[in-house]
């Protein structure tokens, strides 16, 4: 059970860091807006 907590925290940490990078790149975290930008850009 401790393993599950640790793995969950680590996954959450990596995922949040990646979301921050996505936000810096596209200016939004809404998926349809990002898809719009990808289609145009």
């Amino acid at each position: 059970m401790l393993t599950a907590i640790v793995v969950g925290v680590a996954t959450l940490g990596v995922a949040l860091a990646l979301v921050i990078k996505v936000y810096k790149e596209y200016g939004t975290v809404e998926e349809d807006e990002i898809n719009q930008q990808l289609r145009n850009g």
Partner: protein, 526 residues
């Protein structure tokens, strides 16, 4: 010392990861050297383990911290594990060795982070292969996956999005596997693989065990990118840097195939997997769809690395289909293909690294005229491409031979047809590249200094009938009109070594199968 080899193989990269991260603040060059040294130690240990297993003929068992099974975690190295361990450590070591300049230029201020992630990923894979405990396997699977996500996320500007996609899908896959292990624990009370193998035959009709099998297998299929849960692979592998791709692409899916073989053969015994459930038609059918889908999608790609990603999806179809044929030929073909595909993918991604280093561009059209410009690189690339198509004496031919023989013996003619179809499609894919690289004239690059990573002298590219004498030393004057400006030796020699290895693996396929793989498959399978 040698009695602790199973522990050394995994502990050295694990502690070296810590050392690499710490030393990154003190010294710029130290993390890379620490990583290289520890991977070399792991490689030597895995070779010694393989020799020991071959010599004694029995598996090497190592109890972590002396706690006996089934309470403690036991590392079991048998023929199959030892073989895959050698593959993992070899790929990790050679990939890092061959990409030193790329690492230095791409990860300018992040050497500590990159090298420690690299080592953590390798340690996770090594542990997955060596462990004899089903839950320990999940822990190491997550270690490898998270390091993989971080490595891929450090890539191009599109990388974080592709990595998030991979993270969501991959975490669900790993959770399915965990759920399966949980059901096994509820039903049997044990997590040790050998122990489970003795308990499961007594409860063959239990629906809990059946559900555990199905959900474990589904989780593993997600992690190895079988159709239809392959969606994460093309984005993740094409957006990462070539160094990371050269580590992750040859290994992740193949080690997951190894885990599937381990779970189906060692934990759920062959009688359960093949006779009680009879998954052959469903799984081979899924494999056929995967092969055809992967091959056709690869035809549509313009980007070289995306094309390779779809080829990987097709190759996973070979291995899964070959395994679920259920006969000795098919399973030997699947295991041989683990080794061969790891080597071929490593060679192809190292070639991508060299192309991108020289031309700075990832699309296929940037490969124009490269046979004249970089003959040695293209010679190695030709060998790797012929291996994927399946031309003797390269290794790709021999694993396809075993898979096709197994398919005919099992009566799965659709699988045989898909294999042949995929070989033809691979021929089209690679001969297109041969044509562009051989017959199109080399295009001059008007880019500024940032795309050319050449240190020391510019390139002057000749078009048509001029002969221009280049500046600087180290340029060989070609007979024709284009100067040979090869990749740096530090990148070229490991790459050519891997390509020659493809031929050596092919020539020694027979002895690999009779001496190692034959003993990896349980005796009951004909």
């Amino acid at each position: 010392m040698t009695s602790h080899l199973p522990a050394i193989v995994i502990i050295v990269p694990l502690f070296a990861a810590l050392a690499a991260a710490a030393s990154g603040w003190i010294n710029r060059k130290a993390p890379f050297q620490i990583a290289l040294a520890s991977l070399f130690v792991s490689f030597v240990s895995s070779v010694l383990l393989l020799l020991r297993v071959l010599g004694t003929g029995v598996a090497v068992e190592y109890q972590m911290a002396g706690w006996p099974a089934p309470m403690g975690i036991v590392y079991v190295i048998d023929h199959l594990s030892a073989l895959v361990l050698v593959v993992i450590t070899f790929v990790a070591f050679v990939n890092l060795l061959g990409n030193q300049q790329a690492v230095e230029s791409e990860y300018k201020n992040k050497e500590g982070a990159f090298n420690s992630l690299y080592l953590l990923f390798t340690a996770g894979l090594i542990g997955m292969t060596a462990t004899g405990d089903a839950f320990n396997l999940y822990v190491l699977l997550e270690i490898a996956s998270l390091s993989g996500y971080a490595l891929i996320g450090l890539g191009s500007s599109r990388a974080p999005l592709a990595t998030l996609n991979y993270l969501f899908i991959g975490t669900i896959g790993a959770t399915f596997y965990l759920l399966g292990v949980g059901y096994l624990y509820i039903a049997t009370g044990s997590l040790n693989m050998a122990d489970l193998a003795t308990i499961i035959p007594t409860m063959m009709d239990s629906s809990t065990i059946l559900f555990a099998f199905i959900i474990c297998l589904t989780g593993l299929l997600v992690k190895m990118a079988m159709f239809p849960v392959h969606g994460w692979l093309p984005g993740a592998y094409s957006e990462s840097t070539t160094v990371s791709a050269g580590l992750i692409a040859p290994l992740t899916t193949k080690v997951t195939v190894y885990i599937m073989i381990r779970i189906c053969l060692t934990v759920f015994t062959p009688e359960y997997t093949f006779k009680h459930i009879q998954p052959a038609n469903i799984m081979v059918g899924l494999a056929v769809i995967s092969i055809i889908f992967g091959s056709l999608s690869a035809l549509a790609q313009k980007d070289y690395k995306r094309m390779l990603s779809y080829i990987i999806i097709a190759e996973v179809g070979y291995m899964v289909g070959g395994f679920f044929l259920g006969n000795r030929l098919g399973i030997s073909g699947a295991i041989l293909h683990i080794i061969n595909d790891a080597a071929m993918t490593l060679a192809l991604f190292m070639a991508a690294g060299i192309f991108i280093w020289k031309t700075g561009d990832e699309s296929r059209s940037s490969l124009k005229g490269l046979y004249a410009k970089m003959p040695f690189t293209m010679a190695g690339f030709t060998l790797a491409a012929l291996s994927v198509v399946g031309v003797p004496p390269t290794c790709g031919f021999f694993s396809k031979w075993y898979l096709i023989s197994g398919g005919i013996a099992a009566g799965q003619y659709l699988f045989v047809g898909a294999l042949i179809f995929s070989s033809l499609v691979n021929a089209v894919l690679f001969f297109r590249i041969f044509e562009i690289a051989l017959f199109e004239p080399f295009k001059s690059h008007a880019h500024g200094g940032d795309n050319m990573h050449e240190h020391g002298g510019d390139d002057i590219h000749a078009h048509g009938g001029e002969n221009i004498h280049g500046h600087g030393s180290g340029e060989i004057h070609a007979h024709g009109t284009v100067l040979i400006k090869e990749a740096p030796l530090a990148m070229l020699i490991p790459f050519l070594g891997v390509c020659v290895l493809l031929v050596i693996l092919g020539l020694y396929s027979g002895s690999i199968v009779t001496n190692i793989i034959h003993f990896a498959i349980p005796a009951g399978i004909i």
